[in-house]
């Protein structure tokens, strides 16, 4: 990885029951993620994705670029807006700098052309 290089883009479309599977896997059963009616009652367009699931997609783009889970040393994200099921998410990233064997990657996750994770920064160890 060299400064200015892009990491491989990750595209994923969460299916309509993804939030239910992630709720079970993570233990986060907040109804805004799994109950369409409840989500609409509190003013959301419908069930929204768990932010930490979306962050896991950003993490996955980094570990795939870095050669495995051991490569990811740090990830910092800001959540913006809300992600929705059944719409494609694209994670992109660019190597900002390389310092002491660690690549600093600036990365975002977008859905429908809007960032749902922005200003994210990852540190990927290049020694694997």
């Amino acid at each position: 990885m060299n400064p200015g290089e892009e990491i491989a883009e990750l595209r994923v479309t969460p299916d309509r029951y993804l939030t239910v599977r992630y709720a079970g896997a993570s233990g986060d059963f907040n109804p805004i993620h799994i109950d369409e009616e409840f989500a609409q009652q509190v003013g959301l367009p419908g069930k929204i994705l768990h932010g930490l699931w979306t962050m896991a997609q950003v993490a996955r783009a980094q570990t795939e670029a870095g050669g495995g889970p051991q490569s990811l040393r740090r990830l910092q994200v800001q959540f913006r807006g809300m992600g929705l099921p059944e719409r494609e998410i694209t994670v992109t990233g660019t190597v900002h700098e390389v310092r002491d064997g660690v690549a600093i990657v600036h990365t975002t996750a977008e859905q429908d052309g809007k960032a749902i994770i922005r200003n994210a920064e990852a540190e990927i160890a290049l020694d694997g």
Binding site: V12, L18, R21, Y22, G24, A25, S26, G27, D28, V42, G51, L52, W53, M55, A56, Q57, A59, R60, T63, G68, P69, Q70, L72, R73, R74, L75, Q76, V77, Q78, F79
Partner: protein, 145 residues
């Protein structure tokens, strides 16, 4: 806004990492790397069992976050709560069979432009005392005057 809770620390919570839980989590987040699913592949790579994806930190930390989120001393209004930001720094990978103990601290409570900002820090250690992750959990409660 109760800034007196800044610095408050909660009882450590220990999470026993299960092989099937790692597989279930890896499946939910779309991780296909065999290290997360296949014991033999993980052993061949030098791990004692299947490896948790880094973001599995969200799972082993979750029961440690609850007491702070629901603490009346912190006073979060859930109806207006937004998880605004997250950071993890990772140490050694977590594998099935590990016992991860997480201690949560209220790092900061502040108010800007009518909203409340709540920052928690989680420090998670494995059974050998290695720090496997440090998490910074940022939350906003909108329109809190």
């Amino acid at each position: 806004m109760n800034t007196a809770a800044i610095g408050k620390q909660y009882e450590p919570v220990t999470y026993a990492v299960g092989r099937e839980k790692i597989r279930e989590y890896a499946h939910a987040v779309g991780e296909t790397n065999p290290l997360h699913h296949d014991v033999e592949a993980a052993r061949a790579a030098g791990y004692s069992d299947v490896v948790a994806p880094p973001m599995f930190a969200a799972v082993y930390c979750s029961r440690a976050i609850g007491p702070a989120m629901f603490d009346p001393d912190v006073g979060i209004d859930f109806a207006r709560l937004v998880h605004s930001g997250q950071e993890f720094r990772w140490g050694p990978l977590v594998v099935a069979g590990d016992e991860v103990t997480t201690t949560l601290t209220v790092k900061d409570i502040s108010e800007r432009a009518g909203s409340g900002f709540y920052v928690f820090e989680s420090v998670s250690k494995n059974q050998d005392g290695d720090v496997v992750s440090v998490g910074t959990w940022s939350n906003i409660v909108r329109g809190q005057g």
